[in-house]
């Protein structure tokens, strides 16, 4: 697989250099330079929102550092959690004196390192809470929802918790909102072609030219089934069937995210959105603030995910609140 890079081991640091040079609102920080934070720093008295995860998913995670979203982000190597030092740096840099919400996806390395970082920082008097993204319905049954992994739906939790923190809410309230946003969000993805970690000598998985895999994770974790590629409308119908069976949209309103995984043209995402919008209209579900684009990717993986974020008045207000980062702006 061909990639434009200089050296596999320099991949992450050169990405972060380029990201911060292109977007002066972001700066690299932390002992190893593996924290991205707002250039303006944390506002004293504001609850901080820190996140983190492995590289290879831009705009997630570092791309969502900005006003009304997250304050800091610890970043690891490709598909590896950030190390403990970077997690500690990210939490410290997000601390404006009123505590820090740690908001990240449910993956072993991320969880262990953020947990240890939190334990160490308790001694420094920094109060932290944790909310885990667990939106991927293909990664566990509804009974085992807490074991599910976090994927594209995490950005709705960023938006809600970030907006609440920007309002001046305290840590408990920001945490409550983060949990509520996670609870309201479900995602499922499909893959058409694999990705490859820069240090590996072959793609993460193989998928025949005429195949699709339903439910595959953003690191190539196995999905629910693999079969011949179907028309886009049939794929969207099954994704929505599964999402709606997993969560009743009792509010009658959703935001929908049709997300590209890295190598799928935007045009194809709009073909998917067209069907999804038509289908939700038939189900009498109103769409509010739809998102279509590459919001959470997986290197050069081809495919897409659909997230449904069921909103009530409180979440709708937070979703509409101003936000500004290099990859998502709400005026």
């Amino acid at each position: 697989m061909k990639k434009l890079l200089n050296a596999p081991t320099a991949y992450v640091d050169e990405v972060l250099d380029g990201l911060t040079l292109a977007h002066p609102s972001l700066v690299r920080d932390g002992t190893a330079g593996r924290v991205i934070r707002r250039a303006s720093g944390i506002k004293p008295g504001k609850v901080g929102v820190a996140s983190g995860g492995g590289s290879g998913h831009l705009p997630l995670f570092t791309g969502y550092v900005g006003k009304g979203l997250i304050d800091t982000c610890a970043i690891g190597n490709v598909f590896e959690g950030p190390n403990i030092d970077s997690c500690m740096d990210a939490i410290r840099l997000a601390n404006g004196g009123r505590g820090v919400l740690r908001l990240y996806g449910n993956y072993g390395g991320d969880r262990m390192n953020f947990d240890m970082a939190g334990e160490f920082l308790e001694e420094e008097g920094i109060r932290t809470t944790t909310v885990l993204g667990i939106d991927d319905i293909a990664s566990g049954t509804l009974d085992e929802r807490q074991k599910r992994r976090g994927v594209a739906g995490l950005i709705y939790a960023y938006k809600a918790a970030g907006a609440k923190a920007e309002e001046g809410a305290d840590l408990d309230e920001v945490t409550r909102i983060g949990r509520k946003a996670v609870e309201a969000t479900r995602t499922i993805g499909v893959a058409l072609a694999p990705c490859q970690v820069p240090t590996a000598d072959r793609p993460t998985f193989s998928l025949a030219e005429d195949e699709i895999e339903m439910g595959m994770g953003i690191h190539g974790e196995p999905g629910i089934w693999r079969d011949k590629l179907k028309p886009a409308d049939a794929v969207v119908d099954e994704m929505l069937d599964r999402l709606l069976a997993d969560q009743a949209i009792t509010t009658g309103r959703v935001s929908i995210l049709v997300n590209g995984l890295g190598a799928t043209p935007l045009e194809e995402l709009f073909i998917l959105y067209r069907r999804a919008a038509e289908r939700l209209r038939r189900e009498r579900i109103e769409i509010v603030q739809p998102l279509v684009g590459n919001y959470v990717t997986s290197m050069e993986m081809a495919g897409a995910s659909i997230s449904l974020h069921a909103i009530d008045d409180e979440l709708a207000t937070l979703l509409a609140a101003p936000a500004d980062c290099p990859f998502w702006r709400v005026a």
Partner: protein, 202 residues
Amino acid sequence: MTAITTQHIAGAVSGAKAAMGDLEQVLNEADSKLGDGDTGSMLARLIDRLADADPAVEPSISDAFSKLARAAMGATGSSLGTLFATGLMTASRMTKGKDSIAWSELAPLLSASRDAMMARGGAKLGDKTVLDAIHEVATAVEGLNDQASVAQSAKQAGQIVLERFFNESCKVGRARMFMERSIGTHDPGMLAFVRLVDAVAG
């Protein structure tokens, strides 16, 4: 020699580093069946950092373990790497104030590290992870007080655990999603530990 010193620890790290030359792609290959195919590369990077840390110069084995734990933590945030660091931190705590320990103390050290890794990562024995390999080796070297016997028993135990779990399915973490597909494969973390024990035991 009846005691483990910082020289032994440094020797073990050097042995592990030498072994990674061949092991890196073997472990990447094992991981490509259950993960994203970079466990070998991650571990090679981690062990390079351990070697750079030069534990031989530390005044006590507790300091040597602590230095290695910090180096491991700095090298990666992957779950396997973090678990290795957790084990090393536990070893450091358990040997506090000791210049050396008897070979017979290796078993309780491994057992305590295994328990700390279980608490940190949430996996149980039988889930087909690195923990099962550590458990098997800890049990095999219990009561042994000379280097040669420890090395021989540890290598045998590693082979046994690999064979026992080869036809089991992974029950935890990312690999659990592969269920039946994980039968007939080695868990990359378990394989890594066993092969590194082989390399260090000589």
